[in-house]
């Protein structure tokens, strides 16, 4: 599948991926992040049962302490 990740095209071997598998595959280890798929915010509790499909627009924000 091909997706948009933060406005850049990325290709994966699989047809779909759960959000958790996607994070593992990309080796994204940041603890705090926000993920939106096609404009919908995915809460942490749903990372296992939400899937990323071909053509999806995935937006990720990394949250750093400090303010």
């Amino acid at each position: 599948m091909k997706i948009l990740l933060n406005n850049r095209e990325e290709e994966f071997m699989k047809e779909s991926l759960s959000v958790n598998d996607f994070l593992l595959l990309k080796k994204f280890s940041f603890k705090m992040r926000i993920i939106k798929i096609n404009g919908t915010l995915i809460s942490k509790d749903n990372y296992d049962n939400t899937f990323i499909h071909n053509g999806d627009n995935v937006q990720m924000i990394y949250l750093m302490s400090g303010g």
Partner: protein, 195 residues
């Protein structure tokens, strides 16, 4: 457009600011100088001496609630601004009530976990209300690593999304001030586009 027209337009709107530390106090002051009509500011902390290295407070305000001192400072800058303060720790049950009626909200909290909680709550419970997040502003220099990006119509992020504040890489006035003003700049841009 003349400045008087800009401030007259901004005076019609209400902006929420979650947190009155380095980001929130500086962002609030920039918005007040620009003439935003109403600021809703929430914070539960007291001013400490070490806050003065970057936050918009004065030495003689040490020990005051940040919300009370910021309201006073804004009144001294631009008494036209209506400032509503909430001395509360934000959680998922009180956010939509505290910031009800706001046209746009600024995330100016300290911990990454609290930022995440606020973003989730506003995005889910206040659909359509834009949120301007600050993430990654530790240390000094690296000015051009600081960016503001629009995720979609309801979410913006300012900062480098990379540098975490810690004891060895503290928040410094310059970078925090830049990000606070980037957030204020997005707020003004958003409000100026409302006809």
């Amino acid at each position: 457009m003349r400045f008087s027209e800009i401030s007259a337009h901004l005076s019609k709107f209400r902006v929420g600011i979650a947190g009155a530390g380095g980001l929130g106090s500086n962002c609030a002051v920039a918005l007040a100088r620009s003439g935003v009509g109403t600021l809703v500011i929430s914070d539960f902390d007291v001013i400490e001496e070490l806050n003065l290295n970057r936050q918009y407070y004065f030495n003689d305000q040490i020990g005051l609630m940040k919300t009370v001192a910021l309201k006073e400072n804004i009144a001294r800058i631009n008494p036209e601004v209506h400032v509503i303060i909430h001395q509360k720790k934000l959680d998922s049950s009180n956010i939509s009530e505290i910031f009800s009626g706001c046209n746009i909200i600024v995330e100016a909290l300290d911990s990454a976990a609290m930022k995440g909680m606020l973003i989730e709550t506003v995005q889910i419970k206040m659909p359509g209300i834009p949120l301007v997040v600050g993430s990654g502003m530790a240390g000094w220099g690296r000015t051009n690593d600081l960016t503001s990006r629009k995720i979609d119509d309801t979410l913006y992020v300012c900062g480098d999304e990379n540098s975490e504040v810690s004891d060895s890489l503290p928040a410094v006035a310059t970078r925090v001030g830049i990000v606070a003003n980037m957030q204020a700049n997005i707020v003004i841009e958003y409000l100026m586009n409302i006809i």
